[in-house]
């Protein structure tokens, strides 16, 4: 059986490296607390302003993966997202690098670009399109707080 044709179009290739419009996000106390509660983390630096003020952080900070929720508030077009021919998606993995704490009260600006795209045929989920995206998070003092590299997988569900 001949290998099926590539589903990676020129349009997808052209999207590699193009930076998205920035998403701006306020790190709100209640949002951080709600996130900590949802993941079941009772560390006072994420949940208790008084106790957090007595730690070296001198105030509440956000759990390390909290920034991820920013990508879901983006309202405009996201140039780093390409239209996959496959309807289903799973998350493949995530790599974070941290430089500064994410503080309650911060204003974080993020930009994302598609770093790489490849496909795999006949894998666990059948044919898959694998997209590597990189996001940079910068705070109001223009300091990079974190970099994130994610692997997104879209696939054709098998019967």
């Amino acid at each position: 059986m001949a290998e099926s044709e590539s589903v990676i179009t020129q349009e997808m290739k052209d999207a590699i490296g193009v930076e998205s419009k920035p998403t701006v996000y306020s790190i709100e106390k209640n949002a951080v607390m709600r996130f900590a509660q949802a993941i079941g983390d009772t560390n006072p630096i994420f949940t208790d302003e008084d106790k957090a003020s007595k730690t070296p952080y001198k105030g509440m900070i956000a759990p390390p993966t909290f920034l991820r929720s920013m990508q879901h508030v983006s309202t405009g077009e996201d140039e780093s997202r390409i239209k996959s021919p496959y309807p289903a998606n799973v998350d493949g993995g995530s790599e974070w690098e941290y430089f500064e704490p994410i503080r309650v009260g911060d204003t974080i600006t993020s930009t994302t670009y598609l770093a790489d795209i490849h496909e795999r045929q006949g894998g666990k989920f059948g044919n898959m399109l694998i997209m590597i995206r990189e996001t940079k998070y910068i705070n109001q003092s223009k300091k990079t707080v974190a970099l994130q590299r994610t692997t997104g997988i879209s696939y054709q569900p098998q019967d």
């Binding site: 993941i39 929720s69 799973v90 941290y98 704490p101 692997t151």
Partner: protein, 142 residues
């Protein structure tokens, strides 16, 4: 909160295991708190139609469990520098998952006491569904 010090850590040291008992309710709470409303995490029929055995944990929630494993480990005087994981296997709610880690490297770089750990999430059958690694900076006692 416990504090881990650089002097106390050796290659092969274990990161204290973090047990989590995810439920469908927790997945809904995580969806709300993170804004990730992809239906495979709360709608069984939708998940089945996507070729999944039922609703599954958000990869990002498992990432958050591994994040907690490490922020618990570094205490309030250390910091997390890198956190990485791959979602190799699916985890379903209703069974416990265990976040675990082992120290694989210990070194000083640019005046920072760095410790690299192999970390993973293990299901109740002992399978590593989510392998990864972390690099942390730890304080000294003196």
């Amino acid at each position: 909160m416990n504090q881990t010090y650089f002097e106390d850590v050796e290659i092969g040291s274990e990161v204290p295991t973090l047990r989590k008992d995810p439920t469908p309710q927790q997945l809904v709470k995580y969806a709300g708190a993170s804004g990730d409303f992809y239906q495979i995490h709360y709608d069984v029929e939708y998940a089945n139609n996507n070729g999944l055995p039922g609703i599954i944990l958000h990869g990002a929630l498992k990432n958050a469990f591994l994040g907690q494993l490490m922020t618990d480990y570094v205490g309030h005087h250390g910091s997390l520098k890198k956190l990485s994981c791959q979602y190799r296997g699916m985890d379903v709610p209703g069974n416990p998952v265990y976040a675990k880690g082992t120290v694989v490297k210990k070194y000083v770089e640019n005046g920072e006491n760095l410790v690299e750990c192999e970390i993973w999430l293990e299901n109740h059958e002992g399978q590593k569904t989510t392998p990864g690694y972390a690099i942390v900076s730890l304080p000294e006692k003196s």
